[in-house]
Symmetry: C2
Subunit: 180 residues, 2 copies
């Protein structure tokens, strides 16, 4: 599929209600579960998505659109949320994520980005040159990857409960060595 800003926004605006529908009010045994040490729980994923709103996608889009002398993005801290959200409730994080995403999409829409601007470059600290189009596409894929991760992490909590169904349930054996 070719990148199209309005269709990308269709996904980006659906992520907060999707994670809220899946997680709001659910027992901690689901929301705090992980795939093993150093892997994200659903709670962590929501914190990580908030970090993305505050420090990643829109701040980087601003750097690209400004086309100033320094196009290099700040490195992204994948574990910023750990300290930031200690003691927070999941429901408050879900609300905060929805609010931040709503503000960021209103801003993105207000920029009326043109096709020419989508080709503008920035510099990723480890990946090198990237365009605004690639950044916005990566934002969409990042959302969807983390929705898939939340579902997978929850599913794996029943790995020992489904008996002979295991080979029919590929989600249970995805990422045996967790990658995200």
């Amino acid at each position: 599929m070719e990148f199209d800003l309005s269709r990308a926004i269709q996904v980006l605006e659906r992520t907060p209600p999707t994670v809220r529908s899946l997680l709001a009010g659910i027992d901690d045994s689901w929301s705090r579960a992980t795939e093993g040490p150093e892997t994200f729980s659903p709670f962590d994923v929501v914190g990580h998505l908030i970090d993305g709103e505050e420090t990643d996608w829109i701040p980087r889009a601003r750097i690209i659109l400004a086309q100033g002398p320094n196009l290099r993005f700040e490195p992204y801290d994948r574990f910023r949320h750990k300290q930031r959200n200690a003691g927070r409730s999941l429901d408050s994080l879900l609300g905060e994520f929805a609010e931040l995403r709503g503000q960021n999409l209103a801003l993105l829409r207000s920029w009326n980005v043109t096709d020419q601007q989508l080709d503008l470059p920035g510099e990723h600290p480890s990946l090198g040159p990237v365009t605004l189009r690639q950044l916005l596409a990566a934002w969409v894929v990042h959302d969807l990857g983390h929705i898939a991760q939340v579902a997978r992490v929850m599913a794996k909590q029943y790995s020992d409960q489904v008996g002979p169904w295991t080979p029919f349930m590929p989600v249970l054996t995805d990422h045996l060595t967790p990658r995200s």
Copy 2:
């Protein structure tokens, strides 16, 4: 995690609003996209979930709970939805799924299943003996696996759009040979 009926229902009741939040009103280029020939689109997944409500989980639970002379389940048709839903809109399928799931969970709750009943056996046509507990756990995992699948199928539509981000986006390279 040990199986617990009320916690299992927490997931089962969240699936309809989750897929609705992710898919209602979205462009066909997302909802009709696939991972390749013979693989499910998000539209197909919703149809497959409806088939599960009508022909799989609750009908099989009934067979187990009845403990009649024949404990063998009917084989499940993974492609029943293809003909059934030709010409249907995604939004109408989302509404139908929510209604069927709501009815089935009301029925499941009304049975007041005991721990002893969770150990009762049925016979899967290809997997052999299974318990009611395993059937209900598989229902939960099946839901979550298909939520992950919908997100993955959508993400892959931007496989060629994210440029150098690909190695940071494991969802794009999951199931290179689609399995579900």
